[in-house]
């Protein structure tokens, strides 16, 4: 029972952990504990969608007559898609386009030999070029170009056989050269598309969305500035300066914060699958800028603002939603939306205007004279195309179609590459039931991870994992399949299965069979023993048995529940094959009723 409840929650979570690391795992844990809140939201959404249907009719007649419940809500309008209803009852549409900065996973930086490593001592990973020491020149890292090519292919973009690098000038302490090398005139690829699922949210609808990819450009990351408000000092760390970035620019075809978060989440997974980017937002490996404007349905685009540097899925959703409602309120109040850059404050949940210097900045673009045009060999692009790994969407549909796994569980497994690896390894061991294997992963293992705040890593990836040994747990595919098969053969019950899996996750070195024997987990199938158990229950529940016997046929099932609960509370239930128990119980009840 508990498991089914969990499952429902699990697929609903915005982050189901895995590659996104401990910080976000804690976040999902908090979500899990607020079951009640989630339920209430669903109820509200149910209510909303029913009222919307009614309101649409009146709206069509030109008589907007909105229920008070809808004010300040986002609804799904079958005609216009996602629509906002303001406090004054007006209908608005929000237009959102995202730009994603993905740090390229490479050993060294984009143009220098300094290592690309996270969390290193300040200014310890800086080449002379990164510090803009005069006379140094950029040398393009081919690994970064390949990451760009692969990403372009995975997003169905046209790869430009010749692309150029440009300098984008602005003064900032963490930009030592005074310019960023980027691709302004001709980027590495253009015109792609990206398709992703949007999960149920306030608007209670699960759907597939496609966003047009305008272009992908390769550019440098900047350093980091730390402002010390007390001393008035500004400290600069250049470790990040010069790391390769893929900037993916999407068209303004999103309408809702959670859509942008869903895009970012799926993109992180795709980039991770492509080995193009680590995909961890908590490390700043993936950062989202959102361009946001609102308009009344059917009108031209409104003036947009840009909210920069959103570094969690939560921030993406919340910042966009805040900004949309802020703009609606401002416009209805007769104010003008200015084309400006805003930042999002996680503490207050608000967006605030950044200093005006960003507003009408002229970046004085100029071709980068130290880098020849980037010329790609069509043969190389073909090779990359042929060697593209399986993408998450394909993996999900494979799990669903080939192994009959429920779609939500497919999502959980594919969202965590280690789960997917484990599952595919399990397939090699020919489990009796694929669903059971999948369930063990998303229920028993997932529960364990949340409980102990651990990260699951598939057995073969332990050595290459960048997490510390204390953080990670694993289980071999062989053990998992063995345990699953024992359960399918009804030699153990679910409780025993859970114990086995948890023991292995704890690092128990005994084999599954040894564990079953030593922990005495084998199910009791002795009918005589079980018969005694049934008799005892019937005796202790005699009054309930009477109620059962006298109940009308339709009501009988309900009267059976307390009897079963009593049986479950009995310590013997732990080890007894409850299928046989039920069997005997029903026989006994049957025979008693016939006697009567």
């Amino acid at each position: 029972m508990v498991c089914i409840k969990c499952m429902r929650l699990l697929h609903r979570l915005p982050d189901s952990g895995g590659i996104f690391g401990p910080a976000l795992q804690r976040y999902t844990w908090r979500q899990l504990s607020s079951t009640v809140a989630v339920k209430n939201q669903t109820a509200v959404a149910d209510h909303l969608s029913s009222t919307v249907a009614v309101n649409n009719k009146t709206a069509d007649e030109g008589q907007p007559n909105l229920s008070k419940d809808l004010v300040g809500r986002t609804i799904w309008d079958p005609k216009n898609g996602i629509i906002r209803i303001s406090k004054s009852g007006q209908r608005w549409e929000s237009v959102i386009g995202v730009e994603v900065h993905a740090q390229i996973k490479s050993n060294s930086k984009l143009f220098s030999t300094a290592p690309n490593e996270f969390n290193q001592p300040v200014n310890s990973k800086v080449a002379f070029f990164d510090a803009a020491i005069p006379g140094t020149l950029p040398v393009l890292n081919s690994r970064c170009v390949l990451a760009g090519v692969r990403t372009s292919l995975a997003l169905n973009a046209n790869v430009n056989l010749v692309s150029f690098f440009d300098r984008k000038h602005y003064f900032y302490a963490d930009l030592p050269s005074g310019y960023q090398i980027t691709q302004q005139r001709k980027p590495i690829s253009q015109n792609g598309s990206f398709t992703f699922d949007v999960m149920k949210s306030d608007i209670k609808k699960e759907y597939v969305k496609t966003s047009h990819l305008v272009q992908i450009q390769i550019e440098q990351d900047s350093g980091k500035s730390l402002h010390d408000d007390i001393d008035g000092q500004c400290l600069v760390d250049l470790n990040r300066c010069g790391i390769g970035l893929l900037e993916l620019v999407f068209a303004p075809d999103l309408r809702y914060g959670p859509e942008a978060a869903a895009l970012a989440k799926e993109l992180a997974l795709v980039l991770h699958t492509l080995q193009a980017c680590g995909g961890r937002m908590d490390r700043g490996e993936l950062r989202v800028d959102a361009n946001i404007s609102v308009r009344q349905p059917g009108q031209e685009f409104g003036t947009r603002t840009e909210v920069k540097n959103l570094n969690s899925l939560r921030s993406v959703t919340d910042a966009i939603e805040f900004e949309v409602w802020r703009q609606i309120a401002a416009l209805e109040d007769g104010q003008i939306i200015e084309n400006e850059t805003r930042s999002y404050n996680v503490e207050t949940g608000e967006t605030v205007s950044m200093r005006d210097k960003e507003r009408k900045q002229d970046y004085r673009f100029m071709p980068e004279p130290n880098l020849p045009p980037l010329v790609l060999d069509p043969a190389l692009i073909n090779t990359e195309k042929e060697n593209l790994p399986k993408l998450p969407a394909e993996k999900r549909s494979e799990l669903h179609q080939k192994y009959g796994i429920n779609k939500d569980i497919c999502r959980t497994i594919v969202d965590n590459p280690h789960y997917f690896t484990l599952f595919m390894e399990c397939v090699e061991y020919k489990p009796l039931d694929f669903k059971s294997v999948a369930n063990i992963m998303v229920l028993i293992i997932q529960e364990y991870l949340l409980e102990y705040e651990k990260i699951f890593v598939s057995e073969h990836d332990i050595k290459s994992s960048d997490h510390s040994v204390d953080e990670i747990v694993t289980i071999s595919a062989k053990d998992l399949v063995e345990a699953s098969n024992l359960r399918m053969e009804r030699l153990i019950n679910h409780t025993a299965l859970r114990i086995l899996i948890r023991s292995k996750l704890d690092g128990d070195t005994r084999t599954i069979i040894e564990l079953v024997d030593e922990k005495d987990l084998r199910l009791i199938v002795d009918r005589k023993y079980i018969q005694e158990f049934v008799d005892d229950i019937l005796k202790s529940q005699s009054s309930q048995v009477d109620k059962y016997l006298t109940a009308k046929p339709k009501r009988k099932a309900r009267q059976l529940v307390p009897i079963r609960l009593a049986a479950n509370e009995d310590p013997r239930a732990e080890n007894v094959d409850m299928v046989i128990f039920n069997d005997i119980l029903m026989q006994k009840l049957d025979s008693i009723s016939k006697k009567d």
Binding site: F128, I133, G135, P138, V139, M366, P369, N370, L371
Partner: protein
């Protein structure tokens, strides 16, 4: 080391003067600017490293116009550089055979009330090599910065094809035009030095291995020389024109075909350069904000204030002026009109050369408009005017990325303006050179021809007196 005594490397023990815009580990690399007065380079430029690996000994860093912006070496934070010729330093003139030059019309005395400029921006290196302080010298040439001082100081020089020598470690002026340039006391040394330095460098993505460069044979009887008529511009002295025509005679007397050619867009080279140069300067100078290195301005109240004060205190007027102009040209609303237009003009200039090389093999031109002007005359006009004037014959070569060699051929003659005075009793006696321009990658062939010239002219050697 003993091993080097037995098998000496190409530059074993040879002294090298390095222009102070090449980084050399542990030495101050100032670019002649207050901005980098405190900058000690943490790495060595590829061309310097290759010199050292070949046995060369860097004996010093030499003066230049601030960030190589100038053609006189008069705009340096360290002060101007005097030419070795006629600036008051005692020297003798010797013939190739080591005997004293016996020509009563020549003088080695200091110019009246002034001294000749060294030329620039690589003036320091030119003087060091001309004076014999260094056997070979490294300069950088963006619009003539090696060829002009070499011509005025009476030594041969090479401006290689773009990319033939690595720019890694050369503090840039205009990245797309800059090349490290070489100077030596004779052409043979240039040949040796060029072979030591050339070749692809992994730290410079624009560096190349020149394919045709290994074949340096030139059959003089079969080549055709072109003399571009546009190079003889207003303000060019008669004797410079005469020096080129003397060379033409020398060549034709030796069976070389000579023809007049036209490079119609030559006059646009300097205007084109006056846009491209400030644009790249504005961009390249953006890094000098006082944070990582260089002069940190006194106003540290906030980021922008610190950058502004560092830059206004660290750069001279010339640099600041070019930064201002460059940022103006690069503004979105001006980009097409200036920068893009300049790039198109650059292409036209390059096409001029390609067209000319269809009918002739090499070009013979003047280097400068006159012999070395006196400091007083030179500084009577501002940096911009002087650069625009002096770069007329050298600038187009950089825009086209071609190789060029200069060779000194004679000393200048009587000065009309000073005729009759005591000063006018003797010849000006300052060096005059000619320039050879070849197709891309013909660097070594040009050096071959230059050596042929060198063998046939009686250019005296300058020897310092104790």
């Amino acid at each position: 080391k003993d091993e080097f005594l037995e098998a000496p490397r190409p530059l074993e023990g040879v002294t090298v003067a390095v222009k102070d815009n090449f980084c050399v580990t542990g030495t101050r690399t100032s670019c002649g600017s207050r901005m980098l007065d405190n900058f000690t380079a943490p790495y060595t430029a590829t061309v310097v490293e290759r010199s050292q690996k070949a046995g060369g000994i860097v004996i010093g860093k030499t003066n230049l116009d601030e960030f190589a912006m100038g053609s006189g070496t008069v705009d340096s934070y360290c002060g101007p550089t005097k030419n070795i010729w006629r600036s008051g330093i005692k020297y003798k003139l010797k013939t190739k055979h080591g005997t004293d030059v016996n020509d009563g019309s020549l003088t080695t005395e200091k110019l009246a009330d002034s001294w000749p400029v060294a030329g620039g921006s690589s003036g320091g290196t030119a003087v060091a090599v001309a004076a014999g302080a260094a056997t070979v010298g490294l300069g950088s040439d963006t619009g003539g910065s090696v060829r002009i001082p070499a011509a005025w100081c009476g030594i041969p020089s090479l401006k290689p094809s773009y990319g033939a020598l690595s720019r890694h470690g050369l503090i840039p002026l205009v990245n797309s035009l800059d090349v490290p340039g070489l100077m030596a006391r004779n052409v043979q040394d240039l040949q040796i030095y060029f072979d030591v330095l050339r070749g692809r460098d992994q730290f410079d993505s624009t560096s190349v291995d020149l394919k045709d460069c290994d074949n340096e044979e030139v059959e003089l009887e079969n080549i055709k020389l072109g003399v571009p008529q546009e190079y003889f511009c207003e303000g060019m002295s008669d004797e410079v024109i005469k020096s080129v025509s003397d060379m033409c005679n020398l060549f034709s007397n030796n069976g070389v075909n000579i023809d007049s050619v036209s490079l119609p867009h030559t006059d646009m080279a300097v205007p084109c350069y006056s846009v491209l140069n400030p644009c790249e300067v504005a961009s390249n100078m953006a890094r000098y904000d006082g944070v990582e290195f260089g002069l940190a301005g006194s106003d540290t109240s906030y980021n922008e204030a610190m950058a502004a004060s560092s830059r206004s205190q660290g750069f001279n007027d010339v640099v600041r002026g070019r930064i201002l102009a460059g940022n103006y040209f690069l503004l979105r609303r001006h980009y097409d009109e200036y920068y893009l237009q300049a790039l198109k003009v650059r292409r036209l200039i390059q096409n001029d050369f390609l067209e000319a090389f269809k009918s002739v093999d090499y070009l013979l031109t003047p280097v400068t408009l006159t012999d070395a002007p006196s400091f007083a005359d030179f500084t009577a006009q501002d940096n911009r005017t002087q650069t625009a004037k002096q770069d007329h014959c050298t600038q187009p070569v950089n825009l086209a990325g071609l190789p060029a060699v200069t060779v000194p051929i004679c000393l200048s003659g009587y000065n009309r303006t000073t005729a009759g005075s005591e000063e006018g009793a003797k010849r000006r006696s300052l060096p005059l050179s000619v320039q050879l321009i070849g197709p891309y990658g013909s660097d070594k062939k040009l050096l071959r021809i230059a050596r042929w010239i060198e063998e046939r002219v009686d250019f005296p050697t300058l020897v310092l007196c104790d």
